[in-house]
């Protein structure tokens, strides 16, 4: 199979955005991955190796081989991400690719890894397609997805805002935005909300005033921002500027929802996120053992708590290594087999399943809110609800995930 490690080492490829708007996110992922490598090699405090329910990993590398890694810059562009993944595979002999910070990149690199015959672990990718119509046998996603966001958010929204609400969506005009909009619209309408309007905003927009201004006049009393990164920071800032949260419409307080949150976005949006609801894959404030071990390890090493994409990448490295150990081989097909249907705990978010049908991970999903009174720079978000896994599960042939085929695992050459 491709890049079979022959010496005493095995090389992993960490492909994250190091330049461009998501550089910060990528940097966090990289730090977490380095930490994971340390833990695999038996350095540091061992982190989640101590809490992980699978005990296959011994802190002596993977299958006795010392773990090394190479890094690449995705630039958050499909082309560049594929180029750097290819160079890690072709030049450095990387046997798996991990990380990334956008769905477009994830799908592109996943396709590449499928062709090249290496394992791909996705990083931050939230679009349904990654494990929907673009799913691939060699690819796995630890992150949650847009459908799950909708499923987790809806009950909380109903509880906090009532079931008689009129929502106005601003949606980033590209694939991820559309799937998220679709998911949120479906789940909120299912509980009785009405969708007043869904407006697409160009990805390149930096100012959203002309999209925000008409909202108050539209009869809507909730604004859903299907934006991520800089888009979300700016659209939320603009919405606050226009004083939306101070208004009363239809006799109700106006509310804003940001279905997908990340810590870095929250930091960028500053004061503006106070009280705004959203969902997350994971948060450092969780109190399970896995989370605590990881936060401690990360925090002591880098002096700040990890972000949820960092946690995803960390967990994925351990999971990959663990799968190799259990399979007894680096052969991608063995790894795929070991990961498919794998159930475990101790890496955060409670009991977790890697579903065999689509390689999507199922675990609890968090609903969070911008903290009204943060006491330090890191508790910008507070956990409102830990939505149990059962509530966000869906059938593999759910229409939002239809089309595409997982295919067969490809071990490459």
């Amino acid at each position: 199979y491709t890049n079979e490690p022959t010496g005493g080492t095995v090389t992993l490829g960490f492909n994250v955005p190091q330049t461009g708007p998501y550089a910060e996110e990528g940097n966090d992922e990289l730090l977490a991955q380095q930490l994971a490598v340390e833990h695999l090699n038996g350095e540091g405090d061992g982190g989640c190796l101590n809490t992980f329910t699978s005990k296959a990993l011994k802190g002596n590398g993977i299958l006795g081989k010392k773990v090394e890694f190479v890094t690449g810059d995705t630039q958050t562009k499909s082309d560049a991400a594929r180029a750097s993944a290819k160079s890690m595979i072709e030049k450095d002999g990387a046997i798996m690719i991990n990380g990334g910070s956008s769905s477009g990149v994830a799908v592109a690199v996943q396709g590449l890894c499928q062709e090249a015959g290496v394992i791909f672990m996705a990083g931050l990718t939230h679009a349904n397609d990654t494990t929907g119509k673009d799913k691939k046998a060699n690819g796995f996603r630890h992150f949650f997805n847009a459908y799950m966001s909708g499923a987790a958010l809806a009950p909380v929204l109903a509880k906090e805002m009532g079931t008689d609400r009129r929502a106005y969506h601003l949606t980033a005009d590209y694939n991820w935005g559309w799937t998220q909009e679709e998911s949120i619209v479906a789940s909120t309408e299912a509980m009785g909300w009405e969708t007043v309007n869904t407006v697409k905003t160009p990805l390149a927009s930096t100012d959203f005033s002309s999209y925000i201004a008409p909202i108050l006049n539209s009869g809507a009393d909730v604004l859903v921002l299907n934006h991520y990164g800089g888009n979300m920071v700016n659209s939320l800032t603009n919405a606050i500027q226009f004083g939306l949260l101070d208004k009363v419409v239809n006799g109700k307080d106006f509310k804003i929802v940001v279905p997908l949150y990340s810590e870095l976005m929250a930091a960028g949006a500053g004061e503006n996120i106070k009280g705004v609801l959203g969902s997350m894959n994971w948060n450092w404030q969780l109190q399970d053992e896995g989370t605590k071990a990881f936060v401690k390890s990360f925090g002591e090493k880098y002096g700040k708590p990890p972000s949820n994409s960092a946690q995803t990448c960390y967990a994925q490295v351990l999971l990959y290594a663990d799968a190799c150990e259990r399979a007894g081989t680096f052969n991608p097909c063995g790894v795929v087999e070991a990961l498919e249907g794998f159930e475990f705990d101790g890496l955060g978010n409670g009991p977790t399943l890697y579903r065999a049908d689509d390689h999507q991970c199922f675990k609890d999903v968090l609903v969070v809110r911008g903290n009204m009174n943060p006491t330090n720079a890191y508790d910008t978000l507070e956990i409102v609800e830990i939505t149990p896994r059962a509530q966000v599960e869906y059938a593999p042939d759910h229409p939002m995930f239809a089309g595409g085929e997982l295919g067969k695992c490809n071990p490459g050459a």
Partner: protein, 401 residues
């Protein structure tokens, strides 16, 4: 030879030798040495070198000869890629029809955009091409990828799915781009001692195509047509009063360079069957402008050098991380090692942009003619050293073409 004068023939031969031996030349360091990071001889990067070389050669036919600075050439590259992938989806994974279609479609597309944009000159032309390309990008990125009418598959990029028709795909043809059964991915690795060299089918296809189009570019540069294009740059007024219609000349140059871009796009898709919209963004158009200027505008070989330079930094420098640095300087005492790594750190890995920016500035300040001028100066210097320094008169810089 081949209708070229001696100088051009030797240039062509040198280029041919360099491209054919690239797997050796680009991998000068043993695979396990610390310097192996600087090796560029792996298939993907070698393919990129020649593909962007083709793109830049074509761009230079327009910009270098006529002086019309297009800021939208990436659109043609993108269109080329999309056509190629569509060909894969509809016909088969054979690269020949894909590449052919990408050239044709890019050509047609450039006739359209060129015809309109060339009604203006100077900066107004640049902005028109930029506007067209940005529109194409926006359309490809979102509008044309809506579920009802998905032509481009948006941010993810157009790719081949298992349920695509592929009506001509033979039963036992490889399930990835191939040339009559030879997969583009096929690589033969030759291990010589501590070294290892990759010979990749896709690379050699690109390399041969590049040599052909490079040869064509030389012919164009040396032809009466090429002279007319330079006349356009020099004085359009005089040209018109000399009985020449400058419009079709510039349009022809525009279309030729658009077809080169389409060819590059088609090859990109052939090497890696995915067409992403970012290929059409203005930054991509800007990149080819930078490649051309960096290498030496209006010179034959300059754009190829510029393309190599930028792609090398993007792919090699971005991958050097602190770990690698530490391993290089491990021989130093610890404190010193950290200090050295600390100083170099901002320039590598995620700081590769910084290095690139600084190099852009250095090159353009000290080598106004781009890398080619740098090479010429070096050559002159060597020649002067060896001759003994009395042919300064000969060393007078001639315009390098």
């Amino acid at each position: 030879m081949l209708g070229l004068n001696k100088k051009d023939t030797s240039l062509l031969i040198i280029v041919a030798i360099l491209t054919l031996l690239a797997p050796f030349i680009l991998n000068p360091f043993p695979t396990d040495s610390a310097m192996a990071q600087f090796n560029a001889g792996y298939p993907d990067l070698m393919q990129r070198f020649v593909i962007f070389g083709i793109f830049a050669i074509g761009f230079n036919i327009l910009f270098g000869l006529t002086g019309y600075l297009s800021f939208g050439h990436a659109a043609f590259l993108g269109v080329g890629s999309y056509s190629a992938v569509w060909m894969f989806k509809l016909l088969s994974y054979n690269v020949i029809p894909a590449i052919a279609l990408s050239v044709v479609v890019a050509g047609l597309f450039s006739v359209l955009i060129g015809y309109v944009s060339l009604r203006r000159s100077g900066i107004y032309f640049s902005i028109l091409t930029l506007a067209f390309a940005q529109m194409s990008f926006a359309l490809a990125y979102s509008v044309l990828s809506n579920p009802k009418f998905n032509l481009t598959n948006g941010e993810t990029g157009l790719q081949v799915y298992a349920d695509d028709p592929q009506i001509l795909q033979g039963a036992n043809a490889p399930d990835l781009p191939h040339l009559f059964g030879l997969p583009m991915r096929a690589t033969y690795t030759m291990d010589v001692g501590a070294w290892s060299f990759d010979f990749n089918a896709g690379y050699y296809l690109c390399a041969v195509i590049m040599m052909v189009v490079f040869y064509l570019a030389i012919r164009i540069f040396r032809s009466p047509f090429g002279m007319m294009l330079r006349a356009v740059k020099s004085n359009q007024q005089r040209m018109n009063y000399t009985g020449l219609n400058s419009k079709p000349y510039t349009l022809a140059a525009f279309v030729i360079s658009g077809m080169y871009a389409g060819l590059a796009g088609g090859l990109m898709a052939a090497m890696d069957p995915l067409a992403g919209a970012e290929r059409m963004q203005w930054t991509a158009s800007g990149e080819v402008v930078l490649m051309t200027i960096l290498g030496g505008t209006g010179t034959l070989i300059g754009p190829v050098l510029g393309a190599g330079f930028i792609k090398y930094f993007e792919n090699i420098f971005s991958k050097i991380n602190d770990n690698v640095l530490h391993s290089w300087f491990a021989f130093l005492p610890d404190g010193l090692e950290d200090a050295v790594v600390f100083i170099i750190h901002p320039f590598i890995g995620k700081g590769w942009h910084l290095t690139l920016g600084i190099l852009f500035m250095l090159v353009v300040i000290y080598l106004p003619g781009g890398l080619v001028e740098g090479g010429q100066r070096l050559l002159n210097w060597i020649r002067r050293k060896s001759v003994g320094g009395d042919d300064t008169r000969e060393g007078k810089t001639e315009p390098a073409e």
